[in-house]
């Protein structure tokens, strides 16, 4: 009995001691004061030095939390019980959040740096007049390939994927809209197609691609590509850029017929406790020098026109990641097609995944 009581007391003393240390650490870092800002972002999606600079400049303490998928972020914010001041969802998630009334409108007067954002990336279908969201990074869906292994295929068209010489060489990202999307694009249909006959046609075309497909994978697609485990992959430009950094043999291309243009935007959730600081943060992130520093670290394409001047010329002139206007005009942003249509896309994708080689 004594032994038990003693052990119990030790455990409690140790844990309260640790609790005290955590508390001290938190206070020392300024996390307990009122003047804090909670940022909820994708993992490894910001240059942490920028947060320090922001703290120094404004005296606001930043609490930084990360998520790994739009769905996880949505659940946390929907359920309440959290008080994130800034979140960085992708465009379709923003539309959903708008619908469910989870966002605070952004006061453009407080964000003078908005003028630096390229007008191509403003006022898009998922958030008209940018009432609720400000672009953070953007990118495309395209083809990453290893030129040594594909012969003289240039992938200027999506149809090149169906080339018989690519047997068992292609990786696809595990996303219904991405995969069905490129099949639609290859037939010059819209990415937001809602005509079921055309969607089935796209799926049937995909079935013909199965001999070429090596695997349908998630985030590990980057590692597989940079280690040259496969020759070709259909993926997002951000992952492609990361892979190219690690293995400069790889090439990325967005087929001319068109593709998807995606965004991760900053929003202010309704549960925000410090919307004032959130506006300051958004404005700070749009500062050309800061945006350039962040783009340099993260490697995704920044929507900030002025920031481009602060980036390496080599980066900015890289047509693969900063395509000209002609190309971006061909790109489409995903629209929210509604639950039913989305379920149809998912069903088709599932059928395609189960299609036997």
């Amino acid at each position: 009995m004594k032994q038990l009581v003693r052990a119990l007391i030790i455990v409690f003393v140790v844990s309260f001691g640790l609790l005290y240390i955590v508390n001290r650490l938190n206070t020392a870092q300024g996390y307990t004061g009122d003047n804090t800002l909670t940022v909820y972002n994708w993992g490894d999606y910001i240059d942490m030095d920028i947060l320090d600079q922001f703290e120094e400049e404004t005296g606001i303490k930043v609490i930084y939390e990360t998520f790994d998928s739009n769905e996880a972020m949505l659940t946390k914010i929907q359920q309440g019980g959290t008080s994130y001041d800034i979140a960085v969802p992708s465009e379709y998630a923003i539309e959903k959040m708008e619908e469910e009334d989870l966002l605070l409108p952004i006061d453009h007067v407080k964000i003078p740096n908005l003028q630096y954002i390229d007008s191509r990336f403003l006022d898009l279908s998922f958030d008209e007049n940018n009432k609720y969201s400000i672009p953070y990074f953007w990118g495309t869906v395209g083809i990453l390939y290893n030129p040594d292994e594909v012969g003289d295929i240039s992938f200027s068209e999506w149809d090149d994927l169906w080339d018989p010489s690519l047997k068992n060489d292609i990786l696809l990202v595990d996303g219904a809209r991405e995969v069905i999307g490129f099949s639609l694009n290859s037939m010059n249909y819209s990415l937001n197609e809602t005509n079921k006959a055309r969607l089935v046609e796209a799926k049937e075309k995909l079935d013909l691609l199965t001999p070429n497909i090596k695997a349908i994978v998630g985030d590990e697609i980057r590692l597989l590509m940079q280690n040259e485990e496969a020759a070709v992959a259909v993926l997002w430009s951000g992952i492609a850029q990361d892979a190219i950094w690690e293995n400069d043999k790889l090439e990325y291309v967005v087929p001319e017929q068109g593709s998807n243009l995606w965004f991760d935007n900053m929003v202010i959730p309704k549960t925000s406790k410090n919307p004032e600081a959130a506006h300051q943060f958004i404005n700070f992130m749009l500062d050309p020098e800061i945006a350039a520093q962040n783009a340099d670290y993260v490697g995704y394409s920044t929507p900030n026109r002025e920031a481009l001047k602060h980036l390496d010329e080599e980066t900015v002139n890289d047509e693969r990641f900063y395509p000209d206007e002609e190309t971006t005009d061909n790109l489409e942003v995903y629209e929210n097609l509604g639950k039913r249509m989305l379920a149809f896309y998912n069903d088709l994708f599932l059928e395609f995944k189960m299609h036997r080689k």
Binding site: Q3, A7, F12, Q79, G81, D219
Partner: protein, 266 residues
């Protein structure tokens, strides 16, 4: 002789398979190359990086505090629960209680996590330290019950009658006979709860928020962009820590198992 060799060979093979990934991970935590493919040179860079990152340090401490507190509290509750099941008069009640306990162990973590998330937000508990602690206590209690109950069952009832005959009060019986007897079970329960809490991801994932996070959730978020080797370093430290726990547990049980008079100690 050959039989012995074969079986030990098998054992060694199994252990190699089980431990190889962990040691692979730890090995590359010393890699100066920055990835897990080519070992370029020895460095402690990743370890220093961990200790300089206050945010990560806070998360580690949080994880440990939650594990210790939830294990301690759930041990108290679990022992009480085990006693209640042990003392239940009717066989059906006993079985019903035990089944209710076991259902909690086998039900998927995701469902438990989701229901906690809904429950906490419904009754207005802010997601953070308290919500994680409560959730961890809740899923640890059944484990403690399961670890303690067999010890109670194997205890001879004549010891209790003997103590009562010799004039012990019911409280004396509890503190001087029963608890000392089941101490190894209690410690086993405590350590099980501790390890469950330390490595739980699914439940914790749902109930963290507002700047509070635990290690498993944090590592998961980081892994999206490819795991940095500082995560390897962190895992190596965590592995070392669990090893120490296991060794500590070994010594405690060894001490507790020593024959000790009539089961009445100290």
């Amino acid at each position: 002789m050959t039989k012995f060799k074969l079986s030990s060979l098998y054992l060694i093979a199994v252990f190699i398979i089980l431990y190889a990934p962990i040691f692979y991970l730890i090995f590359y935590s010393f890699n100066s190359g920055g990835d897990m493919y080519n070992f370029e040179g020895f460095t402690l860079e990743w370890y220093t990086e961990i200790f300089q990152d206050t945010r990560l340090l806070i998360i580690v401490l949080n994880t440990v505090v939650v594990a210790l507190l939830s294990a301690a509290i759930s041990t108290i509750l679990g022992v009480a629960g085990a006693l209640a099941i042990y003392y239940a008069r009717r066989r059906q009640t006993k079985n019903a209680l035990l089944s209710l306990n076991n259902v909690l162990i086998v039900s998927p973590d995701v469902i438990i996590g989701a229901s906690f998330l809904i429950f906490f937000t419904m009754i207005g508990i802010k997601l953070g330290f308290i919500s994680v602690l409560l959730a961890h206590i809740a899923f640890s209690v059944p484990i403690v019950v399961l670890m303690v109950l067999p010890k109670l069952e194997e205890m001879s009832t004549s010891m209790i009658y003997a103590a009562l005959d010799l004039g012990a009060s019911r409280f004396d019986v509890l503190t001087k006979v029963i608890l000392p007897y089941i101490t190894p079970g209690i410690f086993a329960g405590f350590f099980m709860a501790l390890t469950y809490s330390l490595d739980d991801f699914a439940v914790t994932f749902f109930v963290t928020g507002n700047g509070f996070s635990t290690l498993s959730v944090e590592i998961y978020s980081l892994a999206r962009q490819g795991v940095s080797l500082s995560i390897n370093a962190l895992s190596a430290l965590l592995f070392l820590f669990t090893m120490l726990l296991v060794i500590g547990y070994y010594f405690i049980t060894k001490k507790a198992n020593k024959p000790n008079g009539m089961g009445v100690r100290q």
